[in-house]
């Protein structure tokens, strides 16, 4: 009994250390998924609290597991809470940009376009191009096949290509997302 209690105390210390050291990085992923700071914090705390109950099994390498919970919770929460989210079809008029602000504005447009992707495609884009996970790691995180990851990524890039906000920029440039 004493040993068990000691193990639990040690688990708690490890868990708290993980929360302290890694949660800010996970919060960035949560934000890219939700594009809402408050919801991202909510999502992160929920994922961490779920992870605690499996901590003894995952403490040797907890981050992939927590990230998996984060993404899957995001998917289910999207259904429960955020299904009122609607992409805006009324895009604001494009401002006249000087060179200094153009890059930031373009990145904002692209980030907004990513935010208009379906949740699963958005998750694949974030995991592949922000978290830099491989296709296999992305598949393991999402609980699907690598073929599904490829297809979702292809579909996501296809949607970004024709996103109205980005299409306007491409009128002034050549090339496309490859």
């Amino acid at each position: 009994m004493t040993a068990e209690r000691g193990s639990r105390v040690s688990d708690r210390a490890d868990f708290d250390e993980f929360v302290g050291s890694r949660s800010q990085a996970l919060l960035r992923t949560a934000y890219l998924l939700t594009r809402d700071h408050a919801l991202a914090e909510d999502l992160l705390q929920t994922a961490l609290s779920k992870a605690w109950f499996s901590w003894s099994r995952i403490e040797s390498r907890p981050e992939p597991y927590v990230r998996k919970i984060l993404v899957n919770t995001y998917a289910s929460w999207w259904r429960r809470r955020w299904n009122g989210e609607r992409p805006s079809h009324d895009l604001p008029d494009s401002p006249v940009r000087d060179d200094a602000t153009a890059t930031a504005a373009e990145r904002h447009d692209l980030a907004a376009a990513i935010g208009r992707l379906p949740k699963r495609q958005r998750a694949v884009v974030v995991l592949r191009y922000f978290e830099d996970l491989s296709e296999a790691e992305t598949a393991a995180t999402l609980g699907c096949s690598t073929g599904t990851v490829k297809s979702q990524l292809s579909k996501a890039l296809g949607k970004l290509r024709i996103d109205p906000a980005l299409a306007e920029e491409r009128n002034e440039q050549t090339g496309e997302l490859r």
């Binding site: 960035r28 934000y31 609290s49 779920k50 992870a51 429960r80 299904n83 692209l110």
Partner: protein, 429 residues
């Protein structure tokens, strides 16, 4: 803003808007949630908290929660329900379930919009003879089940709404329940496009796929060859414009345009399930099926539209049953099920003591007909009319067990009309 590097940069810039310092209340917030989850687990309510659906007043069986799915069996109203099912070969994963207490006779399940297709199965136990359990979505009848003990086949439903399952005439031992499933991201076996969002299934309504093709990304046309007699070949097509306006497709067989139409921004993952056409030809041998995008109906010029998903498939067309000169299919797909022709009868027919649902159709006489369905405890329904003519037939209506039905073919005035009534029953397995 044109490369993957730009995409990475945009994500990094967006992520950089997150504060660098840890939220001061995070650790306390996490511990508070852990305590809450622990209490729920101890109370045996963890699944209720995680379930997508909110259940009003009834027990909820474990839904998929945090971490890997357990391997224990799921039971609903005394029946073991599978964690995964296939509907027309498309995979669905268990989402949630609900069941009544014995004798309670009512289950209600609220399904918020999910963005994914859903399916439902009904389980009943100790349902006395003459009793029924009726499943409704937002008040619209989806199914009626009879006992005494049955786990019905799952079938697709809309992606949100309130499901109610209500027993009429049950006993104190009667238990009913339902389980819902959600489509996974995987497709049915078949030929899929490169993005994996649409598939020509290996078999549709029992018919094998003989050939299929999807245009390469960026290409505006594709073709394949198929061998056989044209009367034995049906073709299906898919054209998703992905939002681009003014996109049309043309599909041809052996240089003869078979079908043309506007490509839409559709989310149809199963184009062949939506129907197919025949060329009308009779020639045997090797045939080329070709599809291309263009800028007008039946346009001959191939015009590329970036982002368009384009494909075609051919299926074997097995001989149907000839009823009053019309060839009607032996096997059909409807509501996520395969149905087999059970009966082709005259202009009047009665259905009693059904053990399951039936799909009804008709072959009208030369002057056309309507199918009138008189339910012993319900309203009179009349199907859409169908003009008579060579090969004309229609398969429109579903009836459920627990009622008797008087079927008759009538004319526009409600007077008897010539023709034959078709009855299809669910195929087993």
């Amino acid at each position: 803003m044109n490369t993957i590097d730009d995409l990475r940069a945009a994500l990094a810039a967006d992520a950089a808007t997150v504060a660098h310092d840890e939220h001061p209340a995070r650790a306390a917030g996490v511990q508070g949630r852990i305590r809450t989850r622990r209490r729920r687990r101890q109370a045996g309510l963890a699944a209720a908290a995680a379930a997508v659906a909110a259940v009003v007043g009834f027990g909820v069986l474990p839904a998929l929660d945090d971490g890997p799915a357990p391997n224990d069996e799921l039971e609903v109203a005394g029946h073991v329900v599978p964690r995964e099912v296939r509907i027309l070969d498309f995979p669905y994963r268990f989402e949630t379930s609900a069941e009544s207490e014995p004798g309670e006779g009512h289950v209600e399940l609220d399904l918020p919009a999910s963005g994914a297709a859903r399916a439902v199965t009904v389980a009943v136990d100790d349902l006395p003879p003459g009793s029924t359990a009726a499943l409704r979505l937002d008040g619209v009848l989806l199914a009626r089940v009879v006992g005494p003990s049955r786990l019905d086949d799952p079938f697709p439903i809309g992606d949100d709404g309130t499901l109610t399952l209500t027993v009429t005439g049950g006993s104190g031992d009667t238990r009913v329940g339902l389980a819902t499933y959600e489509r996974t991201a995987d497709l049915a076996p078949g030929l899929a496009d490169t993005s994996g969002t649409v598939v020509f299934r290996d078999r549709v309504a029992g018919k094998p796929r003989l050939g299929a093709v999807f245009a390469r990304p960026g290409a505006a046309e594709a073709s394949f060859t198929v061998t056989g007699r044209l009367t034995d070949i049906d073709v299906a097509r898919h054209c998703d414009s992905n939002g681009a306006p003014g996109v049309y497709f043309v599909m041809s067989i052996d240089d003869g345009a078979t079908e043309s139409g506007r490509c839409r921004d559709v989310d149809d993952e199963d184009p062949a399930g939506g129907g197919y056409v025949s060329s009308g030809g009779t020639e045997s041998g090797r045939h080329e099926v070709r599809i291309w995008t263009t800028d007008r109906l039946y346009g001959e010029e191939v015009v590329a539209f970036p982002g368009t998903v384009l494909g075609a498939a051919a299926y074997g067309s097995s001989a149907g049953t000839v009823v009053r000169g019309a060839e009607v299919p032996e096997v059909i797909e409807r509501d996520g099920r395969l149905w087999q022709l059970e009966d082709a009868v005259g202009r009047r027919h009665r259905l009693d003591d059904l053990d399951g649902p039936r799909v009804l159709g008709m072959v009208p006489g030369p002057d056309g007909a309507w199918l009138e369905i008189r339910e012993d405890l319900g309203p009179v329904r009349t199907s859409d009319g169908l003009a008579g003519g060579a090969g004309a037939h229609a398969i429109n209506d579903v009836v459920w067990p627990g009622r008797s039905y008087e079927l008759s073919l009538v004319d526009v005035d409600g007077d008897p009309a010539a023709g034959a009534i078709l009855v299809y029953r669910p195929m087993q397995g």
